[in-house]
Symmetry: C2
Subunit: 512 residues, 2 copies
């Protein structure tokens, strides 16, 4: 059983938005045409690489309660004592560079939505992991499956987002040991973009794999990657059995994992940029090497999530310079290693979609675009350090995501781009509005924000003096009202529902 | 008569803010320690330079009603017909590179506040030119001299701003032909940071020069620069007599000018990035060459202000990718030419300090920092395309300005920065909060925002659920309440007031 090609995917709303915003076309992912920003020179990066090797050799990492990792590392030449694994200099790097792909295709059930992750590509995905939502009624509350589905729909309808993400919110109205079925099913049913699998246990990862087998076929997924899933490191320097279990299932089945140190710098890493990056590199190297030992060639992404902890309150802070610096450095290190890189997003600490949220998100999104993130989780919707996903914020961030696409396109140096004919036509002291070059090119000329109000003060006031949140609210309601699901083969749909019903019936509801 | 050294300048409030935010120290300007972001390669930049030469040679610029410019250009070898001046290829560049300084010191009346403009320095200045303010009462209204003075005070108290700016707002309660006296006097009296002069006529520029002579001494200013003033180009390709008159006064007196094409791209320039940059380069080259012909060696800055015009509504738009690209390219071109560069700022189209304002401002500020702006006008306070300066927005933007300083500091690779001892001390599975490295370094570790609330949702809610604007409002009130003027020599003060009273009495009040 394999997915039917769907040429009409994307939806009218997405095409309408695309026309409105002057995104040139609906593209499955961004192909970068501008240089990377390298914050540090080669000598600085080499110093951090040496220090990471020192950490791997002298301190090592704990792989807690997971004999398979200890055995594989021991066989590969690491020094294993208890759960602690110490690595000879260069060992992890060498294992990774021997087999990890520099880029890979993640297949979607609609082949037009396939993404390439790595190299000069940027793939944008929505927020991940929030137990709360801030709804269109302005109320913060626990997230439900209905919220989850709305976020999948909005992502499907947003040309600026290329990937459906994973736990776009935590649907707390469904038992924890069963909701992964509903989440994976929602991604498949309500969207045709690629998505992520459950990572909260090996069993749930296996359920995810079994579900995608029904969509793509059992043979297909052994040779093709259809899932990219998030494996957080328990920083500092620890991998736990839960995450390792899920990672092992995915890697064994040729599915991609993001090995992602999750760092609140100052608490879970040293209180400096270089020290934190050293630790992140050591953790990512060890985790990615493990994946390659499980199945050489299984796609793996170097992940980084870093906030700075306020040393006064203990609260994580976002959008400040240090997390940006950490992102720039880890992106450079991932490129030197030759693997795809995950970071970035609309990270912010604000509880609401106010100016704080926007400054912080924009600072992180810009750094993510310039440093060369290949897979950007959390691109849209983040609030409150990730505890909440906001619907208005989601719509605002998608506008920024659209802009990243335009930024990464670089500068058109064609004759049309050079516009010498326009300069000759208009000359000094006139204006370009009526020039033939302007008339021929204005429709695709400049990015048009979906959210910004650039009208006069008087007109804005007449129209109610709304802030950006109010405008995003209206857009969001309109999108949800006009959502049309992409077609799904009825037999596939039936098989997925059948699997869910059977598996759910096997166990009691649990809250863990 | 010259200014008295004032060792106690800066104010307690500024030092308090500096401690709170972990800006390492109050510095007079930023010395950049990170690379520039080069959006385009050398071949692309050369293409634009060739095209600008084509524009200068084949189309030329109008220097309206200003025979002095036509005569100087003619004598230097340009083809002058009527007001139109056409330049042989390379002529402007050669004139500039023969005498324009790559960097210069702008002296402040407090030498500790002197700034260096050019090279690897970044000098941040507040918003410029708004006829409206959005006050702390949330009302948008015409600006007054009292607003102007409040903005000068706030700038003086903000360690993140290095320069007092110029027309921080337009005080419409003072006659247009007299308010330049009050503006210049306010900068001198209420602050000890460097500032800008009046440019609305040659006469007002001369009044400004006469006033700074009273502060610095007549001889001093002929060999030292104490003013940096903004000369906008009437794009496309036109300089008018008003701006040329002011520029000529400043250049003749060895004072600095910013030759700044003011571009709403699509209306005043071609509807493409490369075409707009070509025009900007041509305009800036011609204007800077004129300055060097007036007085070889007079400091001159390559300025760029560019927004994109919405081709649907005609409204200018900010914070979108195209203005950022224009800024990256013009920064590269200024570096290649070897002159200081002005651009950037907290540019936005929003009427209020909401998420739109913050996204747009952050996008522009980040690009300004990475492209290598030397003099950043409009760093704080912009709203509504520059029609309004907002007090809450000002405080928010200063927080971002502080962050730019930290970003531009780069990465500490000292042993403390590397933090290997911390990694050894803590090891896997613990935390760094109590580590001796953390204890020794946490106070200066991470930037602390003055505006952001990163507390828990519950705590934030208990404290009133305020947005960033409300917090900025409270900070602004506190700052204005605690302002203390820097000491000013009483004889200087008296002489300034005397000059103002005498000159103001010479003419009727006028509104132009």
């Amino acid at each position: 059983m394999s997915v039917r090609l769907n040429k009409r995917s994307g939806g009218r709303e997405a095409r309408r938005v695309s026309r409105q915003t002057n995104i040139e076309q609906i593209i499955p992912f961004i192909e970068r045409k501008i240089p990377y920003y390298e914050l540090l020179d080669e000598a600085g990066l080499e110093l951090i690489e040496r220090n990471a090797d020192t950490v791997l050799e002298q301190i090592g990492l704990d792989f807690k309660d997971f004999p398979q990792a200890l055995d594989l590392f021991s066989a590969a030449g690491a020094d294993v004592q208890g759960d602690r694994v110490r690595f000879p200099p260069g060992m992890c790097r060498s294992i990774i560079q021997n087999s990890a792909p520099a880029e890979y295709v993640q297949h979607a059930r609609n082949p037009e939505r396939n993404v390439i992750i790595g190299g000069n590509r940027t793939v944008l995905a929505p927020a991940y992991g929030s137990p709360f939502v801030r709804g269109l009624d302005g109320v913060r509350r626990y997230a439900t499956l209905n919220d989850f589905q709305d976020l999948v729909k909005l992502t499907y309808m947003s040309p600026g987002l290329h990937h459906s993400g994973g736990t776009v919110c935590e649907p707390v109205d469904v038992p924890v040991n069963k909701r992964h079925f509903d989440m994976v099913y929602s991604h498949i049913k309500l969207s045709d973009k690629p998505f992520m699998g459950s990572v909260t246990s090996a069993e749930r990862a296996q359920d995810t794999v079994d579900m995608v087998e029904l969509v793509f076929g059992k043979e297909f997924i052994q040779t093709h990657t259809v899932l990219t899933s998030l494996i957080n490191v328990n920083s500092p320097l620890t991998f736990d059995a839960t995450m390792l279990g899920a990672a092992t299932v995915y890697a064994s089945n040729n599915q991609a994992t993001i090995i992602s140190p999750f760092i609140l710098a100052g608490a879970m890493s040293p209180v400096t940029v270089a020290g934190t990056v050293t630790q992140i590199l050591a953790e990512a190297l060890a985790g990615m090497a493990y994946i390659q030992l499980v199945r050489p060639g299984a796609p793996v992404i170097f992940g980084t999530f870093a906030a700075a902890v306020s040393m006064q309150s203990g609260a994580p802070t976002f959008g400040t310079p240090e997390p940006s610096k950490i992102m720039y450095l880890t992106a450079s290190l991932a490129r030197r290693l030759g693997v795809p890189f995950r970071s970035g997003g609309s990270l912010c600490g604000s509880k609401i979609a106010d100016a704080q949220a926007a400054y912080e998100s924009a600072n992180t999104l810009q750094a993510g675009a310039l440093c060369g993130v290949n897979f950007m989780l959390h691109t849209a919707g983040w609030l409150e350090g990730g505890l909440t996903v906001g619907f208005e914020k989601f719509i605002m961030d998608v506008d920024q995501a659209n802009m990243l696409q335009v930024l990464l396109q670089g500068v058109d140096l064609s004759e049309t781009g050079q516009a010498l004919d326009a300069l000759h036509e208009v000359g000094p002291g006139s204006h370009f509005l009526g020039a033939s070059h302007t008339q021929a090119n204005f429709e695709t000329a400049f990015y048009r924000s979906t959210i910004a109000d650039n009208n006069s003060f008087e007109q804005w006031q007449q129209e109610g003096g709304k802030d950006a949140g109010a405008r995003a609210n209206a857009i969001c309601r309109k999108m949800l009202d006009s959502y049309v699901a992409p077609p799904l083969d009825a037999a596939v749909d039936e098989a997925l529902i059948d699997l869910m019903v059977r598996r759910k019936a096997l166990s009691e509801d649990r809250s863990y």
